[in-house]
């Protein structure tokens, strides 16, 4: 495929389609099928492997994702942190470890879903699609970390400007088109995950229960009082 076409399709078309789908469909799904927003946890059916798969996966991916978001939001500070070799090493090794943790958890979760029949019966096609996409995402991420290290210092100069340009509706392919193919693959797959997100169980991330941290322990709902008053 022609390179310009390829870039336009995957770095301009795909991001907009994905992000648009993400916002539209999560909202539509919440409003019309709000009931389906659930973690769909299978811990009840199988308890032991659940621990060894889901704990590393969640801790790993939250760390990695958190750092990606940070690098997007405050690229300069991240680059500043990584400007000292020791700090750069800490960052790189920490992220690589988190990535490996995610990989281990993800693979264990996939094995568990195949090997345990009880879990297999509650596994849908969309679960497999998203697991596969996540696996590619983690593998390409680890690939980038190995083949093109020191991402925490070049990310701010290379990827963030591109993401900003997309976010500000003025896509600039100058930096991204010269990226190594592993990085490109990682970015494209990320947009696939975002686009597919509303159709999967991943929506449970959006309803993560932060109000619990602030609310009073007991909840009372009054059906005959105009405003639902607490206790």
């Amino acid at each position: 495929m022609n390179n310009t076409y390829f870039n336009a399709l995957f770095f301009i078309g795909l991001p907009y389609v994905s992000v648009f789908t993400f916002f539209l469909m999560t909202i539509v799904r919440y409003r019309t099928h709000g009931f389906t927003y659930s973690s769909l946890s299978s811990q009840f059916l199988e308890n032991r492997q659940h621990f060894w798969a889901l704990m590393p996966f969640h801790y790993g991916i939250l760390t990695v994702l958190g750092m990606h978001i940070l690098a997007f939001l405050v690229p300069r500070q991240v680059a500043w942190w990584s400007s000292v070799p020791l700090r750069l090493w800490i960052m790189e090794i920490g992220m690589l470890a988190a990535g490996l943790l995610t990989l281990v958890g993800l693979v264990a979760a996939m094995v568990r879903r195949r090997a345990n029949h009880k879990i297999a019966v509650v596994t849908t096609a969309s679960d497999w699609v998203i697991l596969a996409l996540l696996l590619i995402q983690v593998l390409t991420g680890l690939g980038v970390a190995m083949m093109h290290p020191w991402g925490s210092s070049w990310f701010a100069l290379a990827v963030t400007p591109y993401l900003y340009s997309v976010a500000t509706l003025n896509p600039n392919l100058a930096v991204v088109s010269v990226m190594p193919w592993m990085v490109k693959w990682h970015v494209i797959n990320a947009f696939l995950v975002i686009g597919f997100f509303p159709f999967t169980r991943l929506v449970h991330i959006l309803v993560a229960p932060n109000p619990y941290l602030w609310r009073r322990p007991q909840v009372v709902r009054w059906y005959r009082r105009p405003a639902a008053a607490g206790r």
Binding site: S38, S41, S42, Q43, L45, Y212, V219, Y223
Partner: protein, 496 residues
């Protein structure tokens, strides 16, 4: 004073015959769906025994309920900080193995089996996977196994007994068991609600019924370990928690909940009580041996004009206050003090009360007659086949005085009625027993009537629920015309 109304229940354990009709009534209405197949919102277990889920009373394993240290009330299984970490994997969540794997039988095989020398059989198949399974447990697997070393001896309540008392319980000639029917207690200080990260679990202000908002539940599962009675269940198909709803759609149309309605032994009583919500926190944090008395003191006398006025100010409908005046629960719990909460030590302030069962009397045979073994009229309460400490572990929060009081009164009522109707006990003895049991003749008569001759209307005093007002508050009543009354507009399903 913050006066609220609460639907509250009494189960009279001496009357339960262990027929499981209640469980079946409930299952047929509410839990015959995929994913709820293993749930028994109402279950009946044999005590001593391990119950359902297995050893649910073992809080070292399940970490249910609240604990109180230095006046601070904390959930055993979770907290705000722990929620952040436990949300990925709950260390104390029971799994299906702690309940049982639901099964059916391959009935088709009876029809489709090829002709052969043997009768075809219907083998058990799992309702989860459809695979052939070996049945290893069920919801009432230890039914009537009162003396069994596998089940009865693993009853967590036995931990409170000393070795002599244990030996006594398992001596062949003293073997005994009774049935313990259980539903959600619709607690005043529900651990399930306090643990729910989504705020889906809530208590209805008007009647105190504890419900899960199915649209808000996200399957974080914190409620399941948190409930010390294991009356929260996880629907493995929809990924939502479910629980006993006290048949609120039935209550709202003036009918008793299905398990109450169908109860063969007529052991169940239901009525509304008024209580002071301002004192919940204080009472839940009291020392363990004061809990039962303090919980009783939370319940207010609806005939007291000050209480009625405070109730009215709080929006409790007059018809509800009237209904509270006739509540059988109020009589059993507050007036007669013979109904006690189950495992009050978990500090959820359960609103289902049990009249503790009289263990079979100990007697001796001299010649051809069987007679009491002691002159003391109440001897068989303390020398009952089941040590009073065993009953106290369940119904007294470890305080055997409360259980003894309830049993003595029951016994006095029996002797009093025996003096009246059979006549082989003289009235003077019966009177003495009543006096010693803190019971008047009129009270004995009332207990007797409500225990033995109770009609449907006396057992179930259901206040008007005034749903019409609720609908007017929330929406235009015309928009509800010809609509479905409750439940889902879309069918519940798993994911998208």
């Amino acid at each position: 004073m913050d006066v609220r109304a609460q639907m509250s229940m009494v189960f009279h354990l001496d009357k339960c015959i262990g027929c499981h009709t209640c469980s079946i009534a409930c299952k047929n209405i509410w839990t015959d769906r995929k994913g709820t197949d293993y749930m028994w919102w109402n279950n009946v277990e044999t005590k001593p025994g391990t119950g359902y889920p297995t050893a649910w009373e073992d809080q070292d394993k399940y970490r249910g309920g609240w604990e109180c240290e230095d006046g601070e009330l904390r959930l055993r299984s979770t907290s705000k900080t722990k929620t952040v970490f436990n949300i990925f994997h709950h260390p104390h969540q029971p799994s299906m193995d702690d309940y049982y794997e639901p099964w059916t039988y391959d009935y088709q095989h009876l029809f489709n089996a090829p002709e052969g020398p043997d009768q075809p059989t219907a083998v058990p198949i799992s309702m989860v996977t459809g695979d052939l399974i070996q049945i290893k447990a069920g919801p009432n697997w230890d039914d009537d196994m009162g003396g069994s070393p596998v089940y009865a001896e693993n009853d967590p309540n036995l931990a409170q007994l000393n070795p002599d008392q244990r030996a006594q319980m398992f001596a062949v000639e003293r073997l005994m068991f009774f049935y313990l029917p259980r539903i959600c207690n619709h607690c005043l200080n529900p651990a399930c609600v306090a643990a729910c990260p989504s705020g889906a679990l809530h208590k209805r202000g008007e009647d105190g019924i504890v419900l899960v908002d199915q649209n808000r539940c996200r399957g974080w599962r914190a409620c399941i370990p948190a409930c010390p009675y294991k009356k929260m269940y996880y629907n493995w198909n929809t990924g939502k928690s479910e629980k006993c709803i006290l048949c609120y759609p039935r209550l709202e149309t003036g009918q008793a909940p299905a398990c109450f309605h169908s109860c063969v032994g007529r052991i169940r009583y239901l009525g509304v009580v008024l209580y002071d919500a301002d004192r919940i926190r204080e009472v839940a944090g009291l020392p363990q041996d004061e809990l039962i008395e303090a919980q009783r003191s939370l319940i207010l006398d609806p005939r007291d004009p000050a209480v009625a006025a405070a109730a009215r100010r709080n929006g409790v409908h007059d018809s509800v206050v009237d209904s509270a005046c006739n509540s059988p629960t109020y009589r059993f719990v507050k007036e007669w003090k013979i109904a006690l909460p189950l495992h009050a030590e978990h500090r959820t302030l359960p609103m289902l009360f049990y009249v503790p069962p009289m263990a079979p009397v100990m007697a001796q045979k001299t010649g051809t007659t069987v007679e009491n073994i002691s002159e003391d009229l109440f001897h068989d309460i303390d020398e009952a086949r089941a040590p009073i400490e065993y009953m106290a572990a369940m119904f007294g929060a470890g305080n055997s005085g409360k259980v003894r009081y309830a049993l003595r009164k029951q016994k006095a009522v029996r002797w009093y009625r025996r003096a009246l109707t059979v006549g082989d006990v003289d009235m003077a003895t019966a009177d003495r027993m009543l006096r010693e049991a803190d019971c008047s003749a009129a009270e004995a008569e009332a207990i007797y009537k409500l225990t033995s001759l109770c009609t449907f209307e006396e057992r179930f005093v259901i206040p008007p629920m005034h749903r019409e007002e609720a609908i007017e508050m929330l929406a235009d009543p015309m928009s509800h015309k010809q609509g479905v009354g409750f439940g889902f507009i879309e069918g519940p399903r798993r994911g998208l």
